[in-house]
Subunit: 339 residues, 4 copies
């Protein structure tokens, strides 16, 4: 059982809640710190009605989650109003669908400028691009590193875009946060808890990508790592899961989008590029995500996909991104949304 | 290597193709019968350019598939023009999205009439409903059987709908084909080859549902079992696959829809009810399918889901189906389609 | 809730149980027939303690399964004593590990005789071999059919072996049962319920292979289809499941063996050939199965794997099968077993 | 194409190899540093026979891997002789099976001493135990941290055991390496590349656990991250993968053990505790691993599993561990091994 403490509770009151819970069940542990969100975990107490009522009644308690789930702060049950996360001119979770576009990896100033041009032309408000690249093989292109970050910043500023880019380790957080507007936690880092801790302790918004093997509960548990450290600006991203079917790179779990929207107040976007791994499938996948209620899309665009240093087969050409944007503009009003 | 024989080829010509292939490779086998589609399988010959050219050049050969795939007749490479399958007033694969609706299982005349009413009100042209139900446990409700078939026929006639219903074994084919307009092969039967053979040897259109662990190649291989027996009226249906994620009943593989449309000329529809198993997720899943290019939807509707004898949690109420139809009518014109 | 009726119960007593359950819960359905196993399903009754006690107390009731599982007759909770299934000289579930060996498909008398020779030399008591082959593509070798059955019977008789072979449809059951000693239900047929019904209504033992996507509950539910029709001679076979990992053909779920032994009284064997699809991995997989407690092994052996018409890469050569048998004889005494 | 440079090659020779490859293909990149292993990646060159021969012939080239795999240094093709990794008195990859045992998490000195006692009694040479615990929920017990490390060190010293414990982030590496004998990379960190880099740049042996959705290629790619940084002491550990089947916590991929032994020269052990998540299944899974050729086992033992702070249901009692060790001692001689 997880118990959310009111932010206004005094230390005496918190101690009292702990004592009540311990008396009834034997073990209760407090997480969080004064001034931030605080949660009490009570062990093995899912079915004790009497205790539930006693703890619930306490003035220091905001909410009790009796189900055995790994998250509290991300829960819509706890926080029913949808959260809006602002990055530059974008409002994730607002009426407009947010579009982030750019290359898989930053390769050169020219490549990035041409991708940014395509992004702007298609109505994007964020420029995506990897400076630090997690790669399966140590002998693959690992990204331009800090140089890539600077290219991203300069190009985004030139085109009036915000920057979202991946951070791979706690040590990188300060330098990435200094140059980017939004920090991406990649799918391979979804349970890199020291990294979640680090981005939770700074102020820039976080784009949290689902791991290729994350259950919905694990995904939201990871969101709570960030939220519980004090950073409320978290956007979730469905990007395909790994299944038996290898006809496409991943299986795009489009239904996770409305399911997450039911379970959490956080904005939910989709990455149809990684979800499909194949340019010809990105457009239908992007339309499907929008129709399923996604708050945004993050899409790979490359001026010359055939020469991309990573993930070329899944990058759209600028004209294809524009065509997709046109389709989205035609369909979104049916759901009361726009691009 | 698979070689498709022209329908106009003489027996002498067919023998000649077999002889050429055997001479070059050692083994060639002829499948199919005179008057129907015929295919020659040449063993282990994917890379021999010379033979390819020699066999290709023969007047009896329509097409050669050098890649190692289990299907020929379903392939868009062989048959580039999209197939339209007509069932009652519905045209699967035409410009209009086809809607099939009805209960999971036929339970009573009253239940079926109210579901049919909802189907018609929402623009459906087919009534779905199970008379023979494949159930994991022998102690679960197994369907009303032949009585259910008659109820389906009578109700569909009353409301001007066509009937689609599942057939579970070769012996059932004649009696189901006598009363239904379209025979459904359920996901558990996707590799029940004697059953595919039986529905391939009769004339009623077939709705072939993907198995919960079918690869795309296996799915199309099963379609070829039906097509190769002489029945060209096959509609494919994506209905969710089984993955590690059990937050929903299945994982709806929405990208399989555009992928199948690339690989095959057959119509492709979606079953968002089984794909999600949860009524609140059926609507977004249905919208996603339509946005991804589905040619139709098959949806469970029940006048009183709480009392359904099977799969109640995933059935829409009539008002919910109507609301979905309204959403679809608003969004489909963006893709040049209608409901 | 599932209620097993005593075989000695009178019809009046059975009606009384149904009436009690209905009074308390609203719906109760009787499955099975007089003289055979009979089960009552009571809807939605997992938590009602009072009813449980009342129904349990009835003289006609043998056992009540309160958990929501799809099987009763296969359950070790219901039938704690391990079942032994006899086929020829083999005792599945006895102290000796049973070995079945032979080719994937029957190809010729010579091939089969050489495989049978290898089987006998390695201590096998059953000859396996497919006469009817379920194949993904309609253009693949489909087996020799009835001719293959006769070859199996004659060769087995010559070498003093019993025959186990696959049956694919209800209509084939009589002719396969006439010639084989044990009927195999292949993994693609695990939820072919009309076929399970058919093999349940005849007397020959059944080898039930797990489907590549079967959960343990579904596997045992399928076993109950056979058992509930009156045939108690069922042997289960783990043969690999389909997962994200395609480095090998399937993922051998070796832990399913001890798990099944806990849940059911039926014998459990393993098929390391299909589980791995690679001859060099069959031996370690077979040893692992034996160490995990398997009651038997079914292994593909071919006199000339390179020329096999199906599944050559996973077939052992006769000398490799003999080497495996030698390893098994060395390790089995550590578990109080033998080959 | 990956090219392994001889450790004796001069810089001029290395440059020459790069130039040759670039001339033929356009792009070649050098990884590694002088004195350590160095690899050249040549882009898109898998099929060019002429180039292969030209590059191969160069005196600076040790080996060329033409297949598109993400690893070189871990490959048995490159390094055919099995590697032995020594930790304390243990020799991973030698004739004796290595046993590591201990609690999931370090909880107290008393708990740890009783677990160590059980480990020693069962023939273990390493004490396992988590001081830093990766947990799905931020509100779960996160381990005792540095205090836990000191308890591990003191207890291990008292009982003559070596310590293996998890490290979760690059910053933790120095303090964990100072107190432990072997650093564990947990399954959630399998693609935490900055962490792999950090353990690759220090000298203590590394226990690399497979991720729950790692392919074999990805697993060995991660091993190469460590090896390429200069640390050759890597032991691989299969610990169960995530599949559709949730009857047990994970699906133990026992066949990965012999498959890895074919592909890599590194020692391979198994973790039957996490693979099954259920104490009653740990023994058969451990026996299966040993029979499949595992070089060691890492097993959770707890003096009082019912009161464990994490993963109690999968911990063996001391007597159960002893019983398992007795079984292993009886069976291992059949494979020419011992405990």
């Amino acid at each position: 059982m997880l118990v959310l403490i009111r932010s206004t509770a005094s230390e005496t009151e918190v101690c009292d809640v702990l004592a009540r819970a311990e008396k009834l069940r034997g073990r209760a542990v407090l997480f969080g710190r004064v001034g931030g969100p605080r949660v009490v975990r009570v062990e093995g107490a899912s079915a004790d009605e009497e205790m539930l009522r006693s703890v619930l009644a306490h003035v220091a308690v905001e909410k009790v989650l009796a189900r055995d789930i790994p998250y509290v702060l991300a829960s819509r049950e706890v926080h029913p109003v949808s959260t809006i996360v602002r990055v530059g001119s974008a409002e994730f979770g607002g009426p407009a669908l947010v579009l982030a576009a750019g290359p898989c990896a930053v390769e050169s100033r020219d490549q990035l400028r041409r991708a940014a041009e395509a992004a702007v032309a298609s109505g994007a408000s964020l420029l995506r691009g990897g400076a630090f690249k997690p790669r399966t093989s140590p002998y693959s292109f690992q990204g331009l590193g800090v140089e890539g970050l600077h290219l991203l910043r300069e190009t985004a500023d030139e085109f009036g875009l915000a920057v979202v880019t991946e951070v791979m380790s706690p040590e990188q957080v300060p330098e990435v946060a200094a140059l980017a507007d939004m920090l991406q936690i990649g799918s391979r880092s979804i349970q890199n808890f020291p990294l979640l801790d680090a981005v939770g302790r700074q102020a820039k918004p976080v784009l949290l990508k689902r791991g290729m093997m994350s259950t919905i509960d694990e995904f939201l548990g990871s969101a709570d790592y960030i939220l519980s450290r004090g950073n409320p600006h978290v956007v979730l991203c469905e990007r395909g899961i790994r299944t038996f079917d290898r006809a496409v790179r991943n299986t795009f779990d489009v239904v996770a989008i409305p399911l997450l929207k039911q379970l959490t107040h956080l904005p939910v976007i989709a990455d149809p590029s990684h979800a499909t791994g194949q340019a010809s499938l990105v457009r239908p996948a992007a339309r499907a995500a929008a129709a399923a209620g996604a708050d945004g899309l993050i899409i790979e665009v490359h001026p010359d996909p055939a020469r991309a240093l990573s993930d070329g087969p899944q990058a759209l050409r600028p004209a294809e991104l524009l065509a997709l944007a046109t389709e989205l503009r035609a369909m979104l009003p049916a759901f009361g949304r726009s691009l």
